[in-house]
């Protein structure tokens, strides 16, 4: 039984094209490369359609292919353009003023607020996901790359270090900054205005 065979490849473009494109864009931050990845994915899906079992939805099957293609692309990029200075990425100091000189939160500005709603209820709100997507798109590319590999693709840190050829301490710094920035962005954009603690 070939689950996907009834589907016309041209229809795939209409049905899944935009979805795959956004999924790729979130990770590679380049329209041309993202389009390229969608094309590679569709071609690979076309070749492998006999093997599509129909166990999962057609879309999640294609997203799975896309993720492999993205990881291949990352590996290839690193082979072709190895990072000359491995410290370069994290050399830029964390210039923000989240903490005072003693390393404590600034209670009037940056200390984490009590996020009010029940977490489960928040996840049902469209606006939450819009804010979160917007905040993800604001992350600098390198941070977004490691963050999505870790939190969306659920790769282990060691695997990410090996793939991107970065040290584990560099990865730690990048992911820490990504999480911090994302949390802060979501607090400002979704959870609302800062009030007294």
């Amino acid at each position: 039984m070939v689950g996907g065979s009834s589907s016309d490849p041209e229809k795939w473009v209409e049905e899944h094209g935009d979805y795959l494109f956004r999924c790729a864009l979130l990770r590679v931050r380049d329209q041309v490369i993202a389009e390229d990845l969608v094309q590679e994915t569709l071609l690979a899906a076309l070749q492998a359609r006999e093997r599509f079992s129909g166990q999962s939805s057609e879309r999640s099957w294609m997203v799975g292919i896309l993720k492999h293609k993205i990881i291949d692309r990352f590996r290839k990029n690193i082979r072709e353009h190895p990072v000359e200075d491995p410290e370069e990425m994290t050399a830029i100091p964390d210039e923000d003023d989240t903490f005072d000189k003693d390393g404590h939160w600034r209670l009037d500005r940056t200390a984490p607020m009590d996020w009010p709603d029940h977490p489960g209820a928040v996840l049902e709100r469209k606006q939450f996901w819009e804010s979160l997507s917007g905040c993800l798109r604001k992350l600098p590319p390198k941070m977004a790359q490691v963050f999505t590999l870790r939190e969306l693709d659920e790769l282990e840190s060691d695997a990410i270090c090996a793939m991107l050829r970065i040290s584990s301490s560099n990865l730690c710094v990048l992911i820490h900054r990504a999480r911090k920035q994302l949390r802060q962005c979501l607090e400002v954009n979704f959870f609302g205005h800062r009030e007294a603690h």
């Binding site: 969608v38 997203v63 939160w105 996901w129 911090k180």
Partner: protein, 110 residues
């Protein structure tokens, strides 16, 4: 001299003041806590450090919030990756009509 709730609080504060000061000295700063809390999500930290972090939570609700909020973000993203990957924001990018036509040509010609 009045004895009331205010004074109780004052006395209480006097009583725990040195302990709080001690905890501030022996536990990581909030800045270090944010770094460590992130690291703890990716690899197990040594026992001693985990204990110091727990002690820090006794004196700092903000770091505890920070930790819970990072975990909340992780759960949200892992439970519903679709929501940010594809559907995402209404303002999300989409393929141009030209790109779609090109892709259709590519898939139908192979």
């Amino acid at each position: 001299m009045q004895i009331g709730p205010k004074q109780d609080v004052k006395q209480l504060k006097l009583g725990i003041g040195p302990i709080v000061g001690w905890l501030i000295r022996i536990t990581p700063s909030c800045q270090d806590m944010t770094r460590l809390l992130s690291e703890a999500m990716d690899r197990p930290l040594p026992f001693g450090m985990r204990m110091k972090m727990r002690l820090h939570f006794l004196i700092c609700k903000w770091c505890e919030r920070y930790k819970n909020q990072l975990l909340f973000l992780r759960q949200a993203l892992r439970r519903d990756p679709d929501k940010v990957e594809g559907e995402g924001a209404a303002s999300s990018a989409s393929l141009s009509p030209e790109a779609k036509d090109r892709l259709k040509r590519v898939v139908s010609n192979s």
